[in-house]
Subunit: 297 residues, 2 copies
């Protein structure tokens, strides 16, 4: 299969749906709506939405039932990036080669546009037009998965521990694993899980997809850690080695580069094995797993 | 009826439910969960939850069906206060006589605990145990109302316009009204609307409750503006006159104190008329409307 085309086509669907799902830049208050769109359309790779779609298709689901939730997931992800970049957090001036939200709109509007994007995800997921096409119990399940993955026992919890670990020299692997599985892994796992739920997966297939998502969610962040060391600044759109300079908790800093690569490869195998019994509909999910580990940016 | 006892009893139910609905302070990451609880239990008057319960009871609903949503509403309200107080926004050191969240936990954890509280509201509203007692379509409707009221076309939009209006001398009443109906009014209206939805209100009663909520939502903030001028610092738990000093957009600053009082009284009448056909089950809703306009803190 041609992963490049697969991703390109799904991304285009997500882009177009996202554009419709968000208030226009010209809608009052203009600063807020501009800021929300600025970060949402700042060149993100849409990995989470594409994984959600791929999981839906892997269990034989229809892409149209999953698109709104895929957009909601990208809104949650975008809000988390805006807040992560704030002066009180990572204090980043650039992301993907572009000025960060607070550098363009100021800190107050950046905080509020993140708040509004997180909120918009739930506005979208509870929209009456969705409930007419998707069983409401299923929508509630998806809302519960996404909010739980984003909350204090998921992504936000991971972000707090990540911040508190910064600069510490005596981190153990359990702490770094907690950070990675929560800060990054939770949303990725929720993405494929929600894709499978909306695709109408049976219990057993859902459990397989969740195992896949857990493995890839962790592997994704380990690959990110490795990229921070081996990638070039041009490919990354930020300074290579910036995690190291900041004393961020990373796999290579705790277990070394070689062992990090070994564990990423092992997680890839676990992910592929989890969906081994799936047919060719799962080919994109398999290719995405390989891409996540081997990407250069 | 004895409003004092009515509010006291409902508040106790909300307090107890809120305590159960939130992760323990001792749960990892401790800083985050402590910060979330700190602001949630910082002496809030629980006006929105009590109004939601009163609206539910006014249409003959059962208090137990509405308690979780009442807690979710208070979480959304609390998150908004934490973010409003941040240095990049109002930069407040005290609220209700206590140090603000970021003064105790630092700016980063304050931002994230606000994020986590907003998210927790949706975790709670989509919980499987709720969906077993309440029709899922109804829960989706409540999620849609609360998120819409909190988002860029509701509370967050109002906050942005409020910030941008600060210090401007040429504000018109339409702008101040936009700020008040969005920043404060939207959540109050959503509170009574959700209470009525969960109470199983018929279309006509729901529309009446919404009219009540719109009037009281605006009146609530006008009363706040008046209190800022007439209240004592001890009663308010913050410096009296602080809105004035900051050049905040208020009704008195645009239409004067006497006209502000006249409009608040008129809105109270509109609210009471809207639920005039309701029976004695709506007595608390009527009393709360009077209390909102006439309170001293």
């Amino acid at each position: 299969m041609d992963l490049h085309n697969y991703i390109k086509e799904r991304c285009e669907l997500v882009e177009s749906r996202l554009k419709h799902a968000m208030p226009a830049e010209t809608e009052f208050p203009v600063s807020l709506h501009s800021a929300m769109r600025y970060s949402t359309f700042a060149g993100g790779k849409r990995i989470r939405p594409v994984m959600m779609i791929a999981a839906c298709e892997a269990v034989g689901g229809d892409i149209n039932t999953v698109l709104p939730a895929a957009c909601a997931m990208e809104m949650v992800h975008t809000y988390s990036l805006i807040h992560d970049d704030l002066p009180a957090m990572d204090n980043d001036d650039f992301r993907r080669g572009m000025a960060t939200n607070h550098k363009v709109y100021g800190e107050a509007v950046a905080i509020l546009s993140g708040d509004a994007l997180l909120t918009l995800a739930f506005i979208l997921l509870s929209s009456p037009f969705l409930a007419s096409n998707i069983p409401p119990e299923r929508l509630l399940e998806v809302i519960h998965e996404i909010s739980s993955a984003a909350g204090s026992r998921g992504m936000v919890g991971g972000q707090v521990v990540d911040m508190e670990a910064e600069g510490k020299s005596d981190l153990d692997i359990a702490t770094v694993q907690y950070i990675h599985t929560h800060k990054t892994g939770a949303l990725i796992k929720a993405s494929v899980k929600c894709g499978a739920i909306l695709g109408g997966a049976e219990e057993r297939d859902l459990a397989s997809i969740v195992r896949y998502g857990e493995a890839i969610g962790l592997a994704f962040q380990i690959a990110d850690d490795i990229l921070d060391i081996e990638g070039s600044s041009a490919e990354l759109g930020k300074s290579a080695g910036s995690d190291q300079h900041r004393g961020k908790a990373t796999y290579p800093s705790v277990v070394g580069l070689a062992e990090s690569k070994r564990q990423a490869a092992e997680l890839l195998n676990i992910a592929l094995e989890a969906i081994d019994s799936f047919g060719k509909e799962a080919a994109p999910l398999r290719e995405i797993a390989r891409y996540v580990i081997e990407r250069k940016s």
